[in-house]
Symmetry: C2
Subunit: 153 residues, 2 copies
Amino acid sequence: MAQEQDNSLGEMNAYLRTELPLTTAMGIEVTAWDGQVVTLGAPLGPNLNHADTAFGGSIAALGILAGYTLLYLVLRERGVSNKLLIQRSEVDFVRPIITDLRATAHLPPAEELEAFVESVQRRRRGRVEVLSEVWSGGMVGARHRGLYIAILY
Amino acid sequence: MAQEQDNSLGEMNAYLRTELPLTTAMGIEVTAWDGQVVTLGAPLGPNLNHADTAFGGSIAALGILAGYTLLYLVLRERGVSNKLLIQRSEVDFVRPIITDLRATAHLPPAEELEAFVESVQRRRRGRVEVLSEVWSGGMVGARHRGLYIAILY
């Protein structure tokens, strides 16, 4: 199981590096996935702003990507071949992030998730909201709410 | 005047490259400022996603930065020395962006702008909302709404 998870994360990281060059520039890595929560990390250095805290654009990108990664992994585990896109993104910047960045995204409530997967499978597309946080050490630095759309292919 | 503007943009771009390393990775450049609208550009290449359109994270970052740049230039022109941060960011992704990216941000309505500047000067901090668009060729690809806070120092 640990081995399976490692493979899954290794593939995910290779996919991000290949398909999303900005993730390399930002130093983003998917570090954990337990079937409920996915965790991504990125060093502060390439994501600094003029105030020597994390750039808002990096935080938004990491929040978007955390939700994206969660849905990607969930749909892949269920064998649903799809194209996944973001439709709406909202970020509340709660406090400056002064450490390396860490983002966590959570499975949507079971009913919403099942309705989403069923919609993708039956109607070829589905929408679902995913919440993520970007952390400054042990404290929430930003809250992200993403609306994603998956299109079957 | 044209010369003044060029100097102003040159300084702005140097500032972004120095203070926000991700802008270099994204290839972002401030290309125009006429006192009402600021325009930023970025090539599609480093900002691509898995669907060969612009990555949502890049779009969000560019939208955030467009509003930031506008306020930075406005406050500098008025000689208000400040630290500027984003507090809230919302992006609606209207259509895939399939060209090099261009973002425009607009001066807030005059009353809101004056209230903001006065608040920064008198109460040492002010908040204002700035709208920006990220374009796919001649069509709006995404709309960004940013709430910014400026702190006098």
